[in-house]
């Protein structure tokens, strides 16, 4: 015996927000912050810029909730806003020095004896990712890190599926190349 806790759906939370329950939006923010935050951090490469982009995307989505035609797909709609926001930020950030984020798990690993190797690997991956063209990085992250289907990515980015597959393929090849180069530095 027990009580089953059922999380309200996105559609239900959007409905509540639209009828004045601002707190329901907090549930949506909690639901998506980590998933979208990971994308923003890896896409932009700078934690502060990424969090600013994420915050701005949540606020813009809230203020434009009337434009979310299908509340059941709020997440996909929000992704689209963040992807665009990251493009804008990325264009600016590309001109600045990138500072890389070591996540909590990586910081935990730093306590271990093999910390140098681990952090070297983290740094190498971040640098390789930063060297990718933004549209390659975007496609690679959405496909392999955010685990979206190509059709979903096409909807978010406006690119065709075949173009996206090409971008992901090139991204994989280039990551391999850049990491090989890093091994020889």
């Amino acid at each position: 015996m027990g009580i089953n806790s059922v999380e309200p759906s996105d559609a239900e939370l959007v409905r509540r927000v639209r009828t004045g329950d601002t707190g329901a939006y907090g549930a949506l923010v909690s639901r998506y912050r980590d998933r979208l935050g990971r994308y923003a951090v890896h896409m932009i490469g700078d934690r502060e810029d990424a969090e600013e982009a994420l915050q701005d995307s949540f606020v813009r989505a809230y203020r434009s909730l009337a434009r979310c035609d299908d509340p059941a797909r709020f997440g996909a709609w929000l992704y689209g806003i963040l992807v665009n926001r990251c493009r804008t930020t990325g264009a600016r950030a590309a001109r600045r020095r990138r500072t890389f984020v070591h996540d909590a798990q990586a910081l935990d690993l730093a306590a271990h004896a093999d910390q140098a190797d681990r952090l070297d690997w983290t740094d190498a991956v971040d640098r390789a990712l930063a060297r990718l063209a933004p549209d390659y990085r975007e496609a690679f992250l959405l496909k392999h890190v955010q685990d979206l289907e190509y059709e979903e990515i096409a909807e978010l980015t406006g690119a065709g599926v075949s173009a996206l597959k090409m971008r992901v393929k090139r991204a994989r090849e280039q990551l391999q190349k850049y990491l090989r180069e890093a091994e020889h530095v």
Binding site: T22, V29, G37, R63, A66, R67, A104, T122, V125
Partner: protein
Amino acid sequence: MFEREDETVERVIQHLRRPVAIDPGLDARVMREIAQAPPNGRRVKLWPLLAAAAVLATVLVVRPWIWNAATTVDTLQFVLVAPQAASVALVGDFNDWDPARSPMQTAHGVWATVVRLAPGRYRYAFLVNGVEWRADPSAPAAKDDEFGTPSSVVTVGGRGS
């Protein structure tokens, strides 16, 4: 000796999939910011939803006058010919896409409203009958719209609109 490509990329993917620590204060900042402005949907819902009619849209964005030659603020009149519409609102970056802030007035099916805008580039659209988003067919389409509905662009500040 190198790892095979798939192994290296797979290792990268697993690395990138690990959780990233986001500032726990972000939620509070979002909620504090949105508390200052209710969502548009809340107001839109209260609007009467009348049967959609074919709308003949001829839109003119005119700049009939400038309040003061010394100021850089322009006054723009947005006009939509929509004889069968029950309501039309102008929404855009300049009013947080809030239909309540720029409702358009009608005379014989010609809907109009006047907005004062500082120099800049703005995206906008018309919300017809509270549900139908329409871009301005006589203005450039916004290429960078992230909301998935049609919108247009107007530039204020002497470089054309």
